[in-house]
């Protein structure tokens, strides 16, 4: 069952993200980053576990014909450097599957290596995040996360699917919070504010409006985006 969320009078489905990382610390952080960004999250510690959950592992040759109901996800975010199956291997497996290749895959890596980034994007990754992952990175992801991918993969290419909150496009415009951007070089000058009570959390409520479709680093020609562009007003 899909979890339906009502916020500011707009009913939209909660996007479900599958996060893959072998680091305990990073799993904790990415889970919180995603949850605070109103995503449903499943976290696993390896590519193999991810494939098993999806129903894409070697044990099963066809996931359509048996009773196994794999996990329904709208986005997969994975670390690159993992023992055994790397994030790149996982990406290839997902993009090589007719059932799962429509799911956007985002790669995270602590190393900002251009050929690595290129290779991942060429293999079909939607985006590449350099660790450590920040709130602003997750916010960027939300622009191309929607529950529509589930409908697209189910109804071969047809985006007309009636139900599910207007095609599941994320109607909340992400507000600009005072998140800190990259300034790792110099120590920040800190101006503290003593507030009498716990102040606002980063996930501010905002008025619902269609989320702008900003393109990631490389604009990949995906059928999903083309369809969205044409139906945008």
């Amino acid at each position: 069952m899909n979890r339906v969320m009502e916020r500011d009078g707009v009913v939209s489905e909660q996007v479900h993200v599958l996060a893959v990382d072998d680091s305990l610390v990073d799993r904790k952080v990415i889970e919180r980053l995603l949850k605070i960004s109103a995503c449903k999250v499943t976290v696993v510690d390896s590519g193999i576990s991810a494939l098993q959950l999806l129903g894409l592992d070697e044990q099963r040759t066809t996931s359509e014909s048996d009773d196994f109901v794999g996990l329904k996800v709208d986005l997969i975010i994975t670390d690159y450097c993992m023992p055994g199956m790397t994030g790149y291997d996982l990406l290839k497996k997902i993009k090589g599957s007719s059932t799962f290749r429509e799911i956007p895959v985002v790669i995270m890596s602590s190393e900002n290596i251009l050929p690595r980034i290129d290779r991942c994007l060429e293999e079909g990754a939607k985006d590449f995040i350099v660790k450590p992952v920040k709130l602003s990175d997750v916010k960027r992801l939300k622009n191309y996360m929607s529950t529509a991918t589930r409908e697209v993969s189910a109804a071969a290419g047809g985006f007309g699917g009636g139900g599910g909150g207007g095609g599941g496009i994320n109607k909340r415009k992400l507000s600009d919070t005072s998140t800190v951007d990259d300034m790792s070089s110099s120590p920040p000058s800190i101006s503290p504010s003593i507030t009498p009570s716990s102040s606002s959390s980063p996930s501010d409520s905002s008025s619902p409006s269609p989320s702008p479709l900003s393109s990631p680093i490389r604009a990949l020609d995906s059928p999903i985006r083309r369809l969205k562009m044409s139906s945008a007003d």
């Binding site: 610390v25 990073d26 919180r32 450097c81 602590s110 709130l135 800190v180 800190i190 716990s198």
Partner: protein
């Protein structure tokens, strides 16, 4: 000490940790992820970091103690520690790991042993600092106050 004084002490202490380079921007990111529903988030993540680091430092000590050092393994451990320290904002530990990896590449045992000492030292320092910070936080909360919000300005 009243709540106001404790809060000011917390602010001064936190500020010093940034100025001295123990913590970087990523630590502030973690603080932003903490709210009324997850009031212990930072402590939880940092605790995981402590557990993880202690395990890795043990493995590193063992690996460098071998007759034939497996530098690939050593590098893998340091890479892990670099990653987790980066994710919590433990800047000096991260930087020590970066230096360490260079010597792994050179396969220089002596230099690696020195780096290991350096990493251990930085780890101990930041652990003490953060534990002090968390103790201050507990005192503030116990006295009925709340933890100030850190804001950055350039």
């Amino acid at each position: 000490m009243d709540v106001g004084q404790m809060q000011r002490q917390w602010l001064d202490y936190t500020r010093s940790l940034f100025i001295e380079g123990f913590l970087d921007n990523q630590f502030l990111q973690l603080q932003q992820l903490q709210d009324e529903n997850n009031p212990e988030f930072v402590v939880e993540v940092v605790s995981l970091f402590f557990e993880d680091s202690e395990r890795i430092l043990k493995d590193l000590t063992f690996a460098l103690d071998q007759q034939g050092v497996d530098f690939k393994k050593v590098d893998a451990h340091v890479h892990q520690l670099k990653g987790s320290s980066s994710s919590v904002g433990a800047q000096r530990v991260k930087n020590a790991c970066i230096a360490f990896r260079n010597f792994c590449e050179e396969q220089n045992v002596e230099a690696c042993l020195r780096c290991l000492q350096q990493v251990k030292q930085e780890y101990c320092l930041v652990k003490n600092k953060l534990e002090t910070l968390f103790r201050l936080e507990q005192q503030i909360v116990a006295a009925g106050g709340s933890i100030p919000m850190m804001e950055l300005s350039f």
